[in-house]
């Protein structure tokens, strides 16, 4: 009797001490019923007294919560460390558990550690569980991990739509049950870029819902409001009345209810003060709500995503500008030139967002044709401007005097008028059905390729743009039908091989000699193949080559007719 009194006093003292702890403490008996909970545990479980708790069914105690582990796997009563201990398992691992209050949607993270209480014979009598609330620390850690994964993901693609789809995919189910990405255009229209849910079948529902959405965004609510204000929107609790109010018809309402939207947050994708789109996060079947902390975190994700979108957009715009600029510096197509069969090769070096300094052009003056190929020093927009100047100076000059050396002299004069030293190499060829004349300014001499082999033709002249003593000797090039003139820029001969050696004129000549009677297109193929085999890694310089096969007289016999005559002769 006395012993029992002492024990009661001891228990009471212990209870007072336990009640003062911030951590929740429970004791579970062998029948899995909770027989004790300190004040913190009672608060957490929502009971007024230990007596009421004792009467509760242990299974029912978990009912109000959606409980999962870190990976989202469901946790049942049997998985709890205390229950494992009572089942006879030694030293169960502490359990990190996420529990979402099904009614409030509130998410919390707890760390459960259980210790066995044994009787005098060493049999397990009960299990004490200490429940530490680690919500803040866990959310913070998971957010940091998430941001670092997002960071890697955003850096991995230059396709911004793909980037945004990846973000949406990563957000579910960790951040939300649904994640959608929309981009806005300048007229207030919007484009749905991505919608993600962890379960595929749910996506069809989203597709059907999309069909109900108006073309124009309503500036007072939802996406339209975010677009107008540039501020995030949080609907932490969506009551059924809201759905009824938003539904267009019965079917729409049925769909909305089926999604079971619990909470929604919409955060802007902003570049400076411009809102380019929005991320929408929706919680439904998980029952989770969103709070201000979630919004803040979503905004961090959005700001990273917006930056990635902007840089990929800028990059592709830059590439497009470079391509446009580059193609404006080359003829759109090789023209049909009577008496000649022509092919060309153009490969800018390096980044697609850069403009190269090589160019070629064909144009007609007074029934004769002119071809120019050249190389301005430098790269980028400066080189493009210079190329433009050279190309149009040549075309304009040829209207007055179409002799190649006069055209080079005009280009030289135009370049000299520029304030900074602007140099250019160029080869100018004037040709007709009768043959060709050419002048060269600091440019590699062209090769004449035919059945007799390969040889340089023409005479060197002065680099254009800066020199006092100049000369551009004009040379008439003798060509017989079937011979091909190959004019190239130094990117071809300066290409670097595996041993650091340059490709050089000799390798170029040997390559062409091997297929010397082939048509221009076949010569081109051969040259590209040989260069690619030789060149190690990326091409360092721009490469331009023009192949011009002389077909010659008579004037009214084109290439097609020649081959038909040949076919008839064989038959």
């Amino acid at each position: 009797m006395r012993g029992e009194t002492e024990r009661a006093i001891r228990d009471q003292r212990l209870a007072v001490i336990l009640d003062s702890l911030a951590e929740a403490v429970t004791i579970r008996a062998r029948n899995n019923h909770l027989v004790y909970a300190n004040q913190a545990a009672l608060d957490r479980l929502g009971f007024d007294s230990v007596a009421a708790l004792r009467a509760a069914d242990p299974q029912a105690l978990m009912q109000p919560y959606d409980t999962t582990d870190e990976l989202g796997n469901e946790i049942s009563l049997d998985d709890l460390p205390s229950v494992q201990l009572l089942r006879g398992e030694e030293n169960p691992e502490p359990l990190l558990m996420r529990s979402v209050d099904r009614s409030s949607g509130e998410e919390s993270w707890v760390l459960l550690k259980a210790t066995a209480v044994r009787d005098d014979e060493g049999q397990i009598e009960s299990a004490v569980t200490i429940i530490a609330d680690v919500t803040e620390a866990t959310q913070a850690t998971r957010r940091v991990q998430f941001l670092s994964r997002i960071g890697a993901l955003l850096a991995s693609s230059l396709d911004y739509e793909q980037t945004l789809r990846n973000v949406a995919g990563l957000a579910v189910p960790q951040l939300a049950d649904w994640c959608a990405v929309d981009l806005f255009d300048e007229d207030g229209g919007r484009e749905s870029v991505a919608i993600a849910h962890s379960r595929q079948e749910k996506l069809e529902m989203a597709e059907r819902l999309r069909a109900y959405e108006p073309e124009r965004l309503d500036p007072e609510q939802g996406l339209g409001r975010v677009l107008r204000t540039g501020e995030s929107l949080l609907y932490s609790n969506i009551p059924d009345e809201l759905l009824v109010g938003a539904a267009i018809d019965e079917e729409h309402l049925r769909l909305l209810r089926e999604v079971g939207m619990r909470a929604v947050m919409i955060v802007p994708l902003a570049i400076g003060t411009r809102t380019i789109g929005a991320l929408t996060f929706v919680n439904s079947e998980s029952g989770r709500s969103f709070d201000a902390g979630d919004v803040e975190f979503a905004e961090q994700i959005a700001s990273r995503a917006a930056l990635a979108v902007e840089s990929t957009r800028l990059y592709s715009e830059r590439s497009a500008i470079a391509r446009t600029l580059q193609s404006s510096l080359l003829p759109e197509a090789i023209p049909e030139i009577p008496g000649w069969d022509v092919a060309a090769l153009y490969r800018p070096a390096g980044h697609e967002s850069e403009v190269g300094g090589d160019f070629y052009d064909f144009w007609e003056v007074d029934g004769d044709w002119l071809m120019m190929i050249g190389d301005v020093t430098g790269k980028g927009v400066g080189a493009a401007a210079l190329t433009s100047l050279v190309r149009y100076t040549a075309r304009a000059a040829s209207e007055f005097d179409a002799r190649p050396r006069e055209i080079l002299a005009r280009i030289d004069a135009a370049l000299r008028r520029r304030s900074s030293v602007s140099l250019c190499t160029a080869l100018c060829l004037r040709f007709s059905r009768e043959g060709a004349t050419l002048a060269v300014g600091g440019h590699p001499l062209p090769l004449r390729v035919g059945e007799d082999g390969v040889e340089e033709v023409g005479e060197h002249g002065t680099l254009l743009g800066a020199l006092q003593r100049t000369r551009w000797p004009e040379v008439k090039v003798a060509l017989s039908p079937g011979q091909t003139l190959v004019a190239f820029t130094d990117g071809v001969t300066d290409a670097v091989g595996a041993e650091g050696e340059r490709w050089g004129t000799e390798r170029l000549s040997a390559t062409l000699a091997a297929v010397r009677e082939a048509e221009p297109a076949a010569l081109r193929t051969q040259l590209v193949q040989a260069l690619d085999e030789f060149q190690l890694g990326a091409q360092a310089d721009d490469t331009a080559v023009v192949f011009m096969r002389f077909i010659g007289q008579p004037a009214d016999r084109g290439r097609g007719q020649v081959s038909r005559v040949g076919a008839a002769g064989n038959g």
């Binding site: 020093t377 060197h460 002065t462 680099l463 006092q468 650091g500």
Partner: protein
């Protein structure tokens, strides 16, 4: 990227008012700014006569050619004297065919031991 087996190098020898920059290896877009810096440094230290010794230069591209044209213009405009010695044969060919040989202050002969 390919590394040419003759990397570009600059060796500077500066006396009271003369400087000599020996350029060896392959001169291209990537190495042009190094030459410009070396020239600026030599002029900043008071050199009034600058010799570019190209006797070990094996390759020069169009940006290299532009550099020599720019330096020649600068020397005339700023009133210092530029001389150049001829590069190795394959690089010299580029100066010859581009007409730069007759427009740049090359010393008449390659220096010979005599």
């Amino acid at each position: 990227m390919t590394v040419p087996d003759t990397p570009f190098e600059i060796e500077s020898v500066l006396d009271a008012d003369t400087g000599c920059l020996k350029l060896s290896g392959e001169l291209d877009l990537a190495s042009v700014s190094r030459v410009e810096q070396a020239v600026d440094a030599a002029l900043a230290q008071g050199a009034r006569t600058l010799t570019l010794d190209l006797s070990e230069l094996s390759f020069v591209d169009s940006s290299g050619l532009r550099l020599f044209v720019v330096l020649n213009d600068r020397a005339i405009a700023e009133g210092w004297k530029l001389t150049m010695t001829r590069p190795l044969e394959q690089a010299m060919a580029v100066f010859v065919v581009s007409g730069l040989e007759e427009n740049l202050p090359f010393a008449e002969q390659r220096r010979t031991v005599a």
